[in-house]
Amino acid sequence: MANKDSFLHLARPLGPAPIGASASTAPLSVSVHPQAIFSILDHSLRRPQDQDRVIGTLLGTRSEDGTEIEIRNCYAVPHTETAEQVEVDMDYQKQMLALHLRANPREVLVGWYATSSDLNTFSALIQNFYGQQGDGTWPHPAVHLTVSTEPGKEIESRTYISAPIGVTAERAADSCLFIPVPHELKYGEAERSGLELISSAKDREDRSQPIITDLESLERAVRQTLDMLERVTKYVNDVLDEEDEPSSALGQFLLNTLSLAPKVDAADIERDFNAHIQDVLAVSYLANTIRTQIDLSNRLATAALSLGPADPLADGNERREGGDRQKGGDRRNKGRQQKAQEA
C-alpha cells in the first residue's frame, strides 16, 4: 500500500526553511506505522453521516535533522466543513495533544491526516494551521497524510509537505503548495505477530478470527510451505517436459536456495537430536507432574478440611507429605535443567 510513485525533487523539498539554518539536501522521508493507518480507517468509519472526510492529528518522532519522520500514533479531531467555511475544534486538538503527550512523552506533533485524497482550499487552511509557529510544527514542515477510504476501491495513501504560496498576505493564509514526499508503511517484529493474526482473517466472510495456538500456526505455516514447494516443483517439471518457458534467472535462484541446505554428518544429527528431544520431553513430563502436584496440594488444602473437624496434626502430616513430594519434583527438575544447560 505504500505508494510506488517516484519522486524527483530538484530542490530540497522542505518548505519554509528557517533562515540561517544550514539547508540539508537529503530528501524528506516518512514512515507510517500500521496502527496509525488502522486508527485513521477506524475514524473514517465513525465519521458523521453528512461529512465526506474527517481529519485528525498525527503524532510521531522526527530525526534530529528533520528529514526522517515516523508517524506512530494519531487521534481524531472534530471538524465541520461546508461549502463556504471550515471549522476545526482547536481547543479539542490542544487538550487531546496534552493528554496524549502525558502517555507518550517521546512523541511530538508531526502533522495531520484527512480521509480523502482531495486537496482543496480548506486543506491548505488546515495545513497552515498545523504548520504555524507556536502550537504547530514550525520550524519543521507539517506532514499531511491522505488516506482514501472510498468503499470498493483500493486504499491509497499519500504524504505531502507544503510550501507557502500566495500573492498577498491575505491569500497566503489559505493557500499553499502541496509537495508530495515518499512514504512507506513500516512494521517491526513485534507488530508482525499481530498483523499476522489480523490478516489471517482477511479472506473470511465474517472478518473475524479466533486466537490460534502455536501448534495451529505451525501447521498453517507448514501447509503453506508445502503448497509453495508444490508450485515450484510443478513449474520445474513443466520446464523439463518443455511445456513451460524456462528462465535461467529462476533456475539460478533455485540452485542457490538448494545449496543452502546444511551438510552435516548423520551421526551428529542423531546425537543432537537425541540430546534435545530428551530435554524437551523431560521438561514436558516434569511440567505435567508439577501441575498434578499443585492440583493435589490444592485439593488437600480444601478437601481434608471439608471432612469436618479432623485432627489438625493428621492434616499437617498429609500436607507435609505433599510438600516433600513437591520438593522431590523440584530437585529432579533442577538436575534436569543443569543437564539441559550443559547440552
Binding site: 496502527q35 477510504t149 499476522e196 495456538t213 502455536d214 507448514v222 480444601t302
Partner: protein, 375 residues
C-alpha cells in the same frame, strides 16, 4: 429486555484489530516494564466488543537505585487503579465521545513477560475494575515475549463471581478454631485456584476498510502478467517480487529451543519455590496452633477435674470458658498468595506443555528431513 441483557454473563470478547495493534505498540515500547491502558467499547448481549484503547500516562519516578526501580515497576503495574489514572481515563473518554468512539469503559490491558501475569497486581486491578468501575469489564493480557516467538498471545480474563465474593470479604483463611462456629470460608465456597481467573474466548475482528487494506499488504498484486526476469539481479530487485506474506508467519518454523525452555524452567522453579515458602508458613502456623490447642485441652481437663472436686465438696463450679481469655490462638496466614501462586504454576506448566508439543514436532520433521529413510 434491558434487564435480560444486563444479567447475561459475558461469554466472549471481540477485539478490533486497531486495539490489537495499539496494545502491541505500547507493550513493546514499554518492554520490559509493564504497560497498561484502558479499553473502551460496547457490549452486545454476551459479547463484549472492544473497539478502542488508550494507554495510561507513564509515571516518572527518578530511578537511581534498585529499590526505587522496584517502586517504579510496582507503580506501573498498579496504574489501572491509581486515582490519577481514573481521572485521566474519564477525561479521555469524554474527549473520545466527541469523535463518535464508543465512550464506555470495558476494562483494561496489561503486558506480560512469559506468562507471568498471574499476580496480586492483576487480581487487584481487575477487582477494582469489576467492583468500582463497571461489573462488565475484562482484562486483556498481551504477552510480549511469547508473541515474539511466533503467534500472537493475547488473552482475556475476568475474575470469577465466587472469587469476587471471597475477595470482597478478604477471607482467605480456612478458619478452623477449636470449637469455632465461623463458616470455613475457603471450604464453604470451595474456591480453588482454577476459579480465580476465568479465561474468555477472544476473537479478532476487522472492519471492511481494513480488510481491503490487508489485501494490499505487504505487497500489492501485480496488475498485468509478469514476464520472466532476464537475470538473477533483476529478479532480486524486481518490485513485483512478492514479499513474504504476513500470514502465515514463517517465524513459527524457527528451531531455537533452548532459550525459551530455560527461561520457562527458571520461572517455573521460582514459582515452585514460592509455593514451598507458603507451605512452610502454613505448616508453622499449624504447628503453633496444635501447640496452643494442646495447652487449651490440658487446661480444660484440669479445670474439669477441679470442678468435679468442687462438686464433690458442694462448692459452686468455676467457669469453663475462661480459656478464651487466657490463650491466644495464632493468626492464620492468608491463603490468597498460595492460590494465586498455584494458578501461576499451572499457567507456566501449560505454557511449557504447548511449547514442547510444537518443538518436538519440528524436531522430528527436521530429523527426518536431514536423515531420510530412517524414520
Amino acid at each position: 429486555m434491558a434487564d435480560a441483557t444486563k444479567d447475561m454473563p459475558i461469554k466472549e470478547v471481540q477485539v478490533e484489530a486497531l486495539v490489537v495493534m495499539k496494545i502491541i505498540k505500547h507493550a513493546q515500547q514499554a518492554f520490559p516494564t509493564i504497560a497498561t491502558g484502558s479499553l473502551v467499547g460496547l457490549e452486545d448481549g454476551g459479547k463484549l466488543e472492544v473497539t478502542n484503547t488508550f494507554s495510561f500516562p507513564t509515571i516518572d519516578v527518578p530511578a537511581t537505585d534498585g529499590h526505587q526501580q522496584e517502586t517504579a515497576a510496582n507503580l506501573a503495574a498498579g496504574a489501572p487503579r491509581a486515582k490519577a489514572n481514573v481521572v485521566y481515563q474519564n477525561e479521555m473518554i469524554k474527549f473520545l465521545r466527541e469523535v463518535n468512539v464508543d465512550a464506555n469503559n470495558v476494562g483494561w490491558y496489561t503486558s506480560a513477560n512469559m506468562g507471568n501475569f498471574v499476580n496480586l497486581n492483576t487480581i487487584e486491578n481487575q477487582f477494582f475494575y469489576q467492583k468500582e468501575m463497571n461489573e462488565r469489564t475484562v482484562a486483556l493480557v498481551h504477552d510480549v515475549s511469547r508473541s515474539s516467538q511466533g503467534s500472537l498471545s493475547l488473552r482475556a480474563f475476568r475474575l470469577s463471581p465466587q472469587f469476587m465474593a471471597a475477595y470482597k470479604e478478604s477471607k482467605f483463611t480456612t478458619e478452623r478454631y477449636l470449637d469455632c462456629s465461623n463458616p470455613c470460608s475457603l471450604q464453604k465456597s470451595g474456591l480453588r485456584y482454577h476459579d480465580i481467573l476465568v479465561e474468555l474466548p477472544l476473537t479478532i475482528h476487522n472492519s471492511h476498510l481494513l480488510t481491503s487494506l490487508l489485501h494490499q499488504l505487504p505487497s500489492e498484486v501485480p496488475k498485468q502478467k509478469l514476464g520472466f526476469p532476464p537475470n538473477l539481479a533483476a529478479l532480486l530487485q524486481d518490485q513485483n517480487t512478492p514479499q513474504p506474506p504476513l500470514f502465515p508467519n514463517y517465524d513459527s518454523l524457527d528451531l531455537s529451543i533452548d532459550p525459551f525452555l530455560e527461561k520457562s524452567c527458571d520461572l517455573l522453579l521460582d514459582s515452585i519455590e514460592n509455593h514451598h515458602t507458603e507451605l512452610n508458613n502454613y505448616q508453622y502456623y499449624q504447628r503453633s496452633l496444635a501447640r496452643e490447642q494442646a495447652k487449651i485441652t490440658a487446661w480444660q481437663t484440669k479445670r474439669k477435674a477441679e470442678n468435679a472436686a468442687r462438686a464433690a465438696s458442694k462448692q459452686p463450679p468455676l467457669p469453663e470458658d475462661e480459656w478464651q481469655r487466657l490463650f491466644k490462638l495464632p493468626q492464620e496466614p492468608s491463603r490468597l498468595e498460595t492460590l494465586i501462586n498455584s494458578r501461576q504454576v499451572e499457567q507456566y506448566a501449560r505454557q511449557m506443555d504447548g511449547f514442547t508439543a510444537s518443538v518436538s514436532t519440528k524436531m522430528f520433521a527436521v530429523k527426518s528431513n536431514l536423515l531420510p529413510g530412517e524414520s
